[in-house]
Amino acid sequence: MSTPRHHVVIGSGVAGNQAAETLRQRDPESRVTMITVSKLPFFNRYDLPRVFRGERDWRKFVIYPAEYYLDNRIALRRATKVVNVDGARRTLTLEHNETVRFDTLLVASGASAYMPAELAEYQPLMHGFGAFRDAIAAADALPKDGHVILMGGDTIGLDLGRTLLDVGYRVTVIAEKHTFWPHEIKAEERPLYIEALAKMGFEVIDGHARGEIAAVRAGAPGLAPRRVVFHDGSEIHGDIVMPFFGVAPALDFMLGSGVDIERGLLVQPSLRTTNEAIYAAGDVCQIWSDADKRYHFYHGWKNVRAMGELAARNITGADEPWVPIQDESLQLSADGRIRSPFWEYA
């Protein structure tokens, strides 16, 4: 081929960046383009709770300096949304009407916060936590010593909760089936973990006992700005409500690409999708496991980074299967404290 191969990576998170770096090392002559909807270059999402400690300068969160992308010849296309992928023609269309051709495509678009359909209409009354600006907006809305209501309470949310407690906020967790996501806990052990949360300083409300969550409403004048109303008629008040119900893969743009999708992009252990030019890595993909004959999601930054690297290796000629490197078990230490492997990033 006279023109250099064009590797396109969608997503600039842990998986995407690891992949881009690996692609650059293993295929020095190629073009590497990384496309992301974010306006920021790659930043550390696990650091986002720092926003609540008063760290407001996004540049302090960024992993690589601008020169990194120039030096590594990684074309970083920010504020750019992919709307359509044509797997047969190997082109993708960007929202602003530009078409980009690729030789190989790695989808590492990650996941966005999952919102149960029955709560969708209350989204404007809640504060998300996916992007830097969301974190800033939540921090802005929170008065000193304020009260945060965490709905669900997945491990991302609980991690944020630890920081919030540390900084002196009041934090209430409304526990339901997504609490501790993505960890799966046996029903009989659940009360122990809930108790552990309380020990950590969380106020815990059992959503199930209240008939699950019914509605989020704006507070009346003179009251706290938000209230959560339960089916049993009871309600609690807080300054902000943040939903943490786990995540759902961000792959709207892959619909119609011809690539198989269930909840995530379905990939072989090599991380290849059903299109030989298209791979996926990170929270967006469901990986086939020959061992238990099922598709699995794997989470946590170590797994995600390993997936980015593996996909890039396989794109550039290796043929290695996926082996998870971070375990996903939640543990209760002897002193009754919760330990999640996903919190071990510092």
């Binding site: 709307v83 359509n84 269309t93 009407n97 359909a117 029955e118 969708a120 019914a214 619909l255 198989d260 999708i261 269930e262 909840r263 379905l266 059903t274 086939w288 238990d292 004959k293 099922r294 598709y295």
Partner: protein
């Protein structure tokens, strides 16, 4: 501009004082077919831009009548149509935003027409011919209406106690209120159709088909597709219908039909539904209303590929219904008392594409797992039954009756139409097929087709739109709160657009039936139109591809001045904003309304 269409006096001449032209040139009929994607996608061929324009002008009654020309049940379809038109709508094409809420507007036309609205029927002289129709579902009702309009005496036989077929017995009232259905069925059948309810036909009844063929000049079978498909299980359950064995397992359609015959039905706490169509969704939503605490629809492929509207899935989810993909049921788990405890599934992967745009699901050996549940509703599809036929009729390999190009079965005078012939489809398709069947019966009875489709070309004084209309957002259908709905089995979920929102929605329609053309002889190539165009819709062209059917294909653009043969509006890209028309210095852009009309063929 207000135009009264009077087809009886149509060609040639004028409509309401405006001179019109009629064309059957393939370039013109091809234009209409391609450029009005909604109408093209509608199995009944509804003239959608025309009725939306009528709504925009506040003429809801006219909009209702325009609908009725293609579909005798606008108020019904305005609620439960599968909306192939909206998937095709130009406003939903990439970069254009969201499709127009065509179906919701159809409902608006029905709901907001004047209380004393008069229905127009263009009646033909009586022919003295008698036609029997078997089955009063959507296809049968549409056929009965058309044949009676055409002057025939029609008798409609229905086994159940009320007409409507799937509309009445399959679709829950929270999606289709029964009063709406009653009125529209009555309107369709009141032109002298003799309705015989509770009268089955064929073997074991008082009215064998052979007898009908003697008594009537033609018989049309529109018996639908009402027998549930059995669930193909494996192992000990192979070739057994679990519904026969366990009271906690039922087929979805009979379950719904029983419910709608006002029989008492119940579900237990954890309901599993297998199947991926509207029936499966309806079963799940009914189960929620019957007090189930957990309702999960299990599908073989993935949500992306199931043939129901996104709105329907969203509403079901808001009512607490969950969908789980990539699984095929292979067995049933019963406890010692014979009560259901779970369904055994096998994990699937996705395979290639099947006909009709569905994905294949391929089971993965050894990946079986059990989903606990205590009620199972099976809604994986329906098939026709032919065991009532008392005379030999040739069948095809799917065991449906085979019909020829004239719509007739292998038995002279015996016609068939609708889902009974095609297998299960949608309501709008059944109506389209029913009308087609009626036209074929009429052609056979009269010896020649009595109507013909041509393109009517009518000048329009100016763009009927503003560019600003393109930025109006899609008006969402308001609904009852999920909590309220669950408490009632009949409370209509969708509450209907308001006068204001329907007017806004109607303004969004591009009016694709408007054809913008540049008079090449008068054009000075000044490109003023291109400058104001909102998209790449006006092109410097050197050629145009012709399609095999004689219609226009792609425009070939010229990059160099000496290759520019014409400046031309690519009607495929055009969003009918009218900006070019307003700016042309030499007024060489014309607008015509091009639409199919039926004209009499004496």
């Amino acid at each position: 501009m207000s135009v009264v269409v009077n087809l009886k006096d149509a060609p040639p001449g004028s409509v309401a004082g405006i001179e019109v032209a009629y064309s059957d040139d393939p370039r013109d009929s091809g234009w209409v077919a391609k450029n009005i994607p909604c109408q093209h996608a509608c199995p009944a061929g509804t003239n959608i831009p025309a009725y939306i324009r009528a709504i925009a002008e506040g003429r809801h009654g006219d909009a209702y009548e325009i609908n009725r020309e293609a579909n005798v049940l606008p108020g019904v379809l305005g609620r439960i149509c599968s909306r192939p038109c909206e998937s095709a709508c130009r406003h939903g094409w990439p970069g254009n935003g969201e499709p127009v809420g065509i179906c919701n507007l159809k409902r608006t036309a029905a709901d907001m027409k004047h209380a004393g609205h008069r229905i127009t029927e263009k009646l033909y002289s009586p022919t003295g011919k008698r036609v029997a129709i078997v089955g009063a579902g959507p296809a049968g009702v549409a056929a009965a209406h058309d044949l009676s309009v055409l002057g025939h005496d029609v008798t409609l036989f229905e086994r159940e106690g009320h007409p409507g077929g799937m509309l009445r017995y399959g679709i829950p009232a929270f999606r289709l209120p029964r009063d709406i259905l009653e009125v529209e069925l009555h309107n369709a059948l009141r032109l002298g159709v003799e309705l015989r309810l509770g009268e089955g036909i064929g073997k074991g009844t008082a009215t064998p088909v052979a007898r009908l063929l003697q008594d009537y000049d033609a018989v049309l079978l529109t018996a639908g597709c009402m027998a549930p498909l059995p669930l193909p299980l494996e192992g000990e359950w192979k070739n057994r219908d679990p519904a026969d064995v366990c009271a906690d397992i039922e087929h979805g359609l009979p379950f719904l039909m029983a419910l709608h015959r006002d029989e008492k039905k119940a579900v237990r706490k954890r309901v599993a539904v297998v199947g991926a169509g509207f029936t499966a969704l309806d079963c799940a939503r009914v189960a929620s209303r019957l007090g189930a605490q957990e309702v999960i629809i299990h599908i073989r492929t993935a949500e992306e590929y199931i043939p129901v509207t996104k709105e329907e899935i969203f509403e079901a989810k808001r009512e607490g219904v969950r969908i789980r993909g990539l699984r095929t049921p292979v067995g049933i788990e019963l406890d010692a008392d014979g009560r259901l405890t779970g369904v055994r599934f096998v994990q699937n992967r996705l395979g290639g594409w099947r006909d009709g745009g569905r994905r294949q699901a391929i089971p993965i050996p050894g990946s079986e797992f059990i989903e606990p549940c205590d009620t199972l509703l099976i809604a994986i599809g329906q098939k026709t039954v032919n065991d009532f036929l008392d005379i030999p009729v040739e069948l095809d390999r799917w065991q449906n009756v085979r019909i020829g190009e004239n719509g007739m079965t292998s038995v002279k005078g015996l016609f068939a139409a609708g889902d009974y012939v095609t297998g299960p489809t949608t309501v709008i398709e059944a109506i389209g097929r029913g009308r087609q069947g009626a036209a074929r019966v009429d052609t056979w009875l009269m010896g020649h087709p009595r109507r013909r489709k041509v393109v009517r070309i009518m000048p329009v004084a100016g763009p009927l739109r503003e560019r600003a209309f393109d930025f109006i957002g899609r008006q969402e259908m308001p609904t009852e709160p999920p909590n309220e709905r669950i408490r009632s089995r009949t409370l209509e979920v969708e509450t209907g657009l308001s006068t204001e929102t329907s007017h806004e929605e109607a303004k969004r329609c591009y009016l694709c039936n408007l054809n913008y053309q540049i008079d090449v002889d008068r054009c000075i190539y000044c490109r003023a139109c291109i400058e104001v165009a909102p998209r790449a819709c006006i092109k410097l062209v050197e050629g145009v591809d012709m399609e095999a059917d004689g219609s226009y294909g792609k425009l070939r653009e010229a990059k160099e001045w000496n290759r520019v043969g014409a400046i031309w509006i690519d009607n495929n890209e055009c969003i009918r904003c009218g900006a070019c028309f307003k700016v042309c210095p030499v007024k060489c852009i014309s607008i015509t309304r091009n639409e199919f009309v039926e004209v009499d063929q004496p």
